[in-house]
Amino acid sequence: MTIKNHYTWLLLFGLLLVQGTVMPWVLPPAWQSSTFVVPHFTLTAVLFIGLFTGRHAALVYGIIFGLLQDFLFYGTMLGVYSFGSGSPGIWRGCCSGGLGAAFCTA
């Protein structure tokens, strides 16, 4: 699961595509209006990479796929997603062991 692993890139890219295209059809309309179920699969994957391989890989994946998300759907400003999904990697690095795992998944 390091940066050089092509499958990880493909998996994350696949998840990025799925969360914006297939998920709106899988989720019932009520979950998209009154309750919000938000399919942020790339973020989940980044958290897992952070837990199982290391914070640097998670940081790089998080920033890159966050930035793609920022580009894809025009929001108020740039950088929110890329900061938001990049930082869990680093925070996981700050704490170590079981504590870090608990912190990241919480």
Binding site: T21, L68, F71, L72, Y74, T76, M77, L78, G79, I90
Partner: protein
């Protein structure tokens, strides 16, 4: 904390945070359009998204059709009945159109005036929906190259759903009405009127509200002005765009008046409008191109 992280690491972390906050601050207000790298990345990925969204929608639609077979059978019957009305209406319309044309010539309308109601509807497929709960945007597969420009109105056969926010060469982002907010600079209010009372009732739809209990979507119409009290706005009236805001062309269907409440300062009413269109599971939309006003 400091001991665990080390000075160098802390330095880089802070530097990164400063960089990101600067980026967010710089792009917060002055994001007018997309730069070319953004356009390139967006177009490439949106193409890939397009390959997935439509099949997913068809499969979901197939299962829904199976479930609603009984309903569809009844619906089909009803539609066949309305079709007869359509034939009658078309005949009537042809008559009126010919008469209208004749009168316009008689009254010496200019070419621009004659063309002003001639809207072009560009059909577009939805390629992706933003998964963000705070940014209701969909991407469609028409862009700059197809003549799409920012601020064009986007409708479904049911009614208005939003406006074009940004365009890339082959795709564009549509900001849905559910994103309307009177405190956000990135949304635009819609000037509306009531069908049948076009000369007496005006208002502005500035924000979107959701009923917490039923989960129903409502558009909030404020600044309601009623020139003629005998033709006041009433529950059940059809709300259409008025075209006075210079963003949307007049006559697009928006919704139905659901309730009329008391406004902020008790001066004008606050009207809740139930939109005709649904904002989830959208497959095809129409971009309305109004003739250019000189």
């Amino acid at each position: 904390m400091l001991k665990i992280m080390g000075n160098k690491r802390l330095f880089f972390l802070l530097l990164g945070m400063i960089l990101f906050i600067t980026l967010m601050g710089l792009t917060l207000g002055g994001r007018t359009g997309l730069t070319w790298p953004e356009k390139f990345v967006k177009d490439t990925i949106s193409t890939a998204q397009g390959w997935l969204y439509k099949p997913a929608g068809s499969i979901a639609g197939f299962f829904r059709d199976l479930r609603e077979l009984q309903v569809i059978y009844r619906e089909n019957k009803e539609l066949k009945k309305t079709l007869i009305h359509y034939a009658e209406d078309t005949q009537h319309l042809n008559d009126l159109e010919a008469e209208n044309k004749r009168l316009k010539i008689a009254l010496a309308f200019t070419e621009q005036q004659k063309q002003s109601n001639n809207y072009k509807y560009h059909i577009a497929d939805v390629v992706a929906v933003s998964p963000d709960a705070y940014n209701h945007t969909i991407t469609i597969n028409l862009g700059e190259k197809d003549g799409i420009k920012p601020n064009m109105a986007v409708v479904t056969p049911q009614g208005l759903i939003g406006r074009i926010q940004t365009v890339t060469p082959f795709h564009s982002d549509v900001q849905l009405l559910t994103n309307l907010n009177d405190t956000d600079n990135n949304t635009k209010a819609i000037s509306v009127t009531v069908r049948g009372k076009e000369t007496s009732s005006f208002g502005v739809i500035e924000s979107y509200e959701q009923d917490k209990q039923s989960g129903k979507d409502y558009l909030v119409m404020t600044k309601v002005e009623q020139a003629d009290p005998t033709h006041a706005i009433a529950v059940g009236d059809t709300v259409i765009t008025s075209g006075l805001g210079q963003v949307f062309p007049p006559g697009l269907m928006v919704g139905k008046v659901a309730s009329i409440g008391v406004g902020e300062f008790n001066i004008t009413p606050r009207v809740l409008v139930e939109p005709f269109a649904s904002f989830t599971h959208i497959q095809e939309v129409f971009v309305v191109e109004a003739p250019v006003q000189q």
